[in-house]
Symmetry: D2
């Protein structure tokens, strides 16, 4: 029965993505035009200088944009494109990708995402910003 | 001695990125304002419908942009930001990210990248396009 | 003496831009990491279907991003690049471009901008979103 | 009768845009997935340092992307969003926005655009790059 709440359904979809399992992402929040993905920062997610790889931030942004749009457009959505601006090197314990739908029509949504790292004291630091368009398919 | 050629140096840098090893990327070409990354498409890189995950395309774009800029700005570079437009679902045997510097000043470069899948007959199909700015650091 | 307040200085800079005079833009707010530009919507700013031309929205976004960054980086700044997502056709009496710095280092800032139209009753409607990076120069 | 060739039709559409008349744009080429807009650089298009205003480059990019997509998707198109990276300050006699469709489906196209200035000797200089997605409407 608990599988019918939106957060659980979103988690099922994320777990059905082999790449999201490889990266180790989970859904922390899902609903009402917003979605937050969470990734424990581990060695395999870093680049050569010890920071979280930009590709991980990109993955998290892309996926959070899609999930946030999914809360208003339904599950059959795909990200048409997005842009990302890096703010500072990402270090910490956890990476959060917090996305919010700014506008949704029937067939597409414009969504923004903040990428934040969380340190061991729970302090959040902004490390990148993304914005993109997600479309309903089918 | 072979370690001193640019392609070998680029491969060393890529292999020093734990996330690039996790994803399974290699450098196919590097030099003269261009860089091509190559990823064997395996199950772990897919999303729930069997296509290569958008986050993998984003990773490859981000990294190829950075490497291409590195051929003109030196190894100490970071991608300031980029945008990506998805063209079609990505399926195939290999993913290529082919980046080219369109303009480089002393401290920054503007770079474009084509994301292509290659099927078992060697046929290339465009699946996404990216464009971004890379800066020299330090 | 009144010329020394930041808003007046920002207006002087905008008026020193021939293109901003051609378009008819003014600065409504300027300071503390934010800037708002205002454009009366007149016939000359439209496209063939009667909506505000996308190029006008782009102009306003680009300039508002630059001015917002100027509040934290100083007057010698230039926009390195930005992306814009259109939300709906723009109609109304006034166009507002409301930009806010999300992060600023010593040499660059990442800024977001909302483009809104205001109708004759003062009601605001979101018509586009932009995000970009602005750099200090000189 | 000459009105039926694609270039003439494109010029008619551009001239039906009051903002394009205000800016002074013309269509130089139109067809086969490509479009080139041309703007004589005059005083009214500059910013405070004498360079072509970024908003003019943005206008030209936005419009060229839309027109290029129009060659494959038909006249009823709108630009969903795009990103622009500035390469260098724009000076010269003429501004060209040269756009090319990289991929078109039935309902949308991904398009790139180069912004070039031309000096009095006819020499072209790259000043910005854009990339975006255009959708068919109606």
């Amino acid at each position: 029965m608990t599988e019918t709440d939106p957060l659980s359904l979103a988690r099922d979809i994320l777990r059905a993505q082999p790449f999201s399992r490889l990266v180790g992402a989970d859904v922390r929040a899902f609903g009402d035009g917003g979605a937050t993905l969470e990734l424990p920062i581990r060695e395999e997610l870093r680049q050569q200088n010890g920071f979280v790889h930009g590709g991980v931030l990109s993955y998290a942004a892309d996926n959070a944009l899609t999930f946030a749009a999914g809360t208003v457009l339904g599950a059959a959505v795909l990200t048409a494109g997005y842009s990302i601006d890096y703010v500072r090197p990402a270090v910490g314990v956890t990476l959060l990708a917090r996305a919010e739908v700014l506008h949704a029509g029937r067939r597409q949504a414009v969504v923004r995402c903040e990428l934040l790292t969380v340190d061991e004291d729970g302090e959040e630091t902004l490390c990148a910003l993304a914005q993109g368009t997600v479309r309903a398919v089918g």
